[in-house]
């Protein structure tokens, strides 16, 4: 009983302080634009999906979000385009821009909030909390953050328990037979580590082309590919037909895994699931 009263009192105090200090419209936003795949995903996961009126071109999950108007690429926004959907709150990933467009949006009186969050496990939790606060859904945010944190902790524990780590090569594209792989410090390396694997592509930063000899020397036990359509899609046949990729232990054992790009590399609420799926593919016997 005492606890309930305290909670009520705290809630009232919070509501009051919010009413006094929060930017106008942020707490009772009815028309929200989310910019950035992970921010959109988090907003939907918090149950705010029906408040969204537009998204950017990097937001493609959940699938229903594709029906919303697309305001373009997150770093090349058109201010009038964003204003045309009459938003009363804009939630953006840290790198939304260009700055001139953001200035105009702010001048138009639309709260423009940048969400923190590095593409790391800790960043995911920060971002969830920030989005929840901006949408006035702290309780849901807390629940989701706890849930995701638990999943991440579990994944880290699982990864730490692996004694004989397998080598994973993330292939971003295979255009013209050239292997574009995720190197050191890439988000691909982050998720591979979280799944208990070792990034087979070393010696370069970010996403770069690897020479054929380096691919052979990397000797991956598993090849990881983004699941996508169109020109950049990579089929198993492409891997098997590739002169060097087909010679790797991964291709010989048929260990090719495909996963949605945003889920795999987005560092959002689905990151624990991605880590789990990749772990299961790497170590099926551990189950």
């Amino acid at each position: 009983m005492m606890r309930g009263v305290n909670a009520l009192r705290a809630g009232l105090a919070l509501a009051l302080s919010v009413a006094l200090t929060a930017p106008a419209g942020a707490e009772d936003a009815k028309r929200v634009v989310t910019l950035g795949g992970s921010v959109t995903e988090i907003a939907v996961a918090l149950g705010a999906g029906d408040l969204l009126v537009a998204r950017d071109s990097t937001s493609n999950y959940p699938a229903a979000i594709a029906a919303l108007p697309d305001v373009g690429y997150i770093r090349a926004l058109s201010p009038e385009g964003v204003l045309s959907v009459a938003p009363d709150l804009i939630l953006a990933e840290a790198d939304a821009g260009p700055p001139a467009a953001v200035d105009v949006l702010t001048a138009a009186g639309v709260p423009f909030l940048r969400m923190p969050g590095d593409p790391t496990p800790a960043g995911v939790v920060d971002k969830i909390k920030a989005v929840a606060e901006a949408l006035g859904r702290d309780a849901e945010g807390e629940a989701l953050a706890t849930n995701v944190q638990a999943g991440l902790t579990e994944a880290e524990a699982r990864a730490a328990a692996v004694t004989d780590k397998k080598r994973v090569l993330f292939v971003l594209s295979l255009q013209g037979g050239r292997v574009m792989a995720g190197g050191e410090g890439s988000s691909a390396e982050g998720i591979i580590a979280l799944a208990g694997g070792i990034n087979a592509a070393t010696g370069f930063q970010g996403y770069k082309q690897m020479t054929d000899e380096a691919v052979l020397a990397a000797a991956p036990d598993l090849i990881l590919i983004m699941d996508r359509e169109g020109d950049l899609a990579i089929g198993n046949a492409d891997v098997m037909a590739h002169p060097t990729l087909s010679q790797t232990p991964a291709a010989q054992a048929g260990a090719i895994v495909r996963m949605d790009g945003m889920m795999l590399l987005g560092f959002g609420p689905r990151t624990p699931d991605a880590a789990r799926a990749l772990y299961d593919a790497l170590y099926p016997q551990a189950g």
């Binding site: 537009a54 071109s57 108007p69 697309d70 305001v71 373009g72 690429y73 770093r75 090349a76 926004l77 058109s78 201010p79 009038e80 385009g81 964003v82 204003l83 045309s84 959907v85 009459a86 790198d95 821009g97 260009p98 700055p99 001139a100 467009a101 200035d103 105009v104 001048a107 138009a108 009186g109 970010g206 996403y207 770069k208």
Partner: protein
Amino acid sequence: MLSLALGRSRSTGGEREARAALMLRALIGLLLVVSVLSLGTGAAGLNLADLAHAAIKGELSTRDQVILWNIRLPRLAMGLLIGAALAVSGALMQGLFRNPLADPGIVGVGAGAGLGAVLAIVVGGLLPAGIAVHFGGQLVPLAAFLGGWGATLLLYRLATRGGHTSVANMLLAGIALGALAGAFTGILVYLADDKQLRDLTFWSMGSLAGAGWGKLATALPLILPVLLFSPLMARGLNALALGEAQAAHLGIEVERLKQLIILGVAAATGAAVAVAGGIGFIGIVVPHLLRISTGPNHRYLLPNAALLGASLLVGADMIARTIVAPAELPIGIVTAVLGAPVFLWILMRRQGLVGI
């Protein structure tokens, strides 16, 4: 080598002059119409009727005020300024080099500005935080302008011996310098990460989306003087069409003319590329359309090019910002997709007139 001015003409000089004068008036009309339309066109649906209504009743919501004053007006002004700058620069270059294929790219502005922009996008992140914050969004435009300007000065130095600037040397050195700048750009592109690559792509396709009063204030002092003083070059360019020696005999200070035009073009296109990225096509096509229809007299060609270039770019921007609304297309795509077929059609119809 090439004779633009002496192209086989079907009409007499007098007729052409009258037509060119008429064209000037028609283009002023076109510019006004396009400008008004542009103010009433956009994703947010604030149209001309709304604006007229607001003008009479004298009230406009905050959102609509921002759309009009902070988005559409600076964007219109920027489109006019940059369209005119690109077209006039093209006309000046073609006149100076007596080559219908010349554009500001030939004096290294494009390659230099591109290298500058890529450098700022890729390496800018490595600058000490204080510097990066201080420049903010201005780093890329500044680097692009310095790159374009620097490349032109270097080229001018390379092609000048004993007070004489060799146009042929400038063309050839420009190609070499362009290849070199392209190679350095390639190295930086290789080093770039995914986000930087996307930024580079968008930059290279040009856009007026970032237009604001601040950018306009940066570009205006560099572009406006060139536009205003370009008609003074007309007599010299007309004489130059006969050849350098002939122009000198006609009392033209040829070296001075070259110097003024090259520096002017570097300033105007450098500023244009810096604030709007790479917008191709206008500089080549606008002067051609005018030369084909009203002849090569620079007295009319230069002001007409300014007017037509401005109208075309503003028109293209209207399409760029509405066709995929609420997103927008890079304007370089629109100018090329719309302009190239029209240009080809005109070339086919009037084959031979350019006299290449």
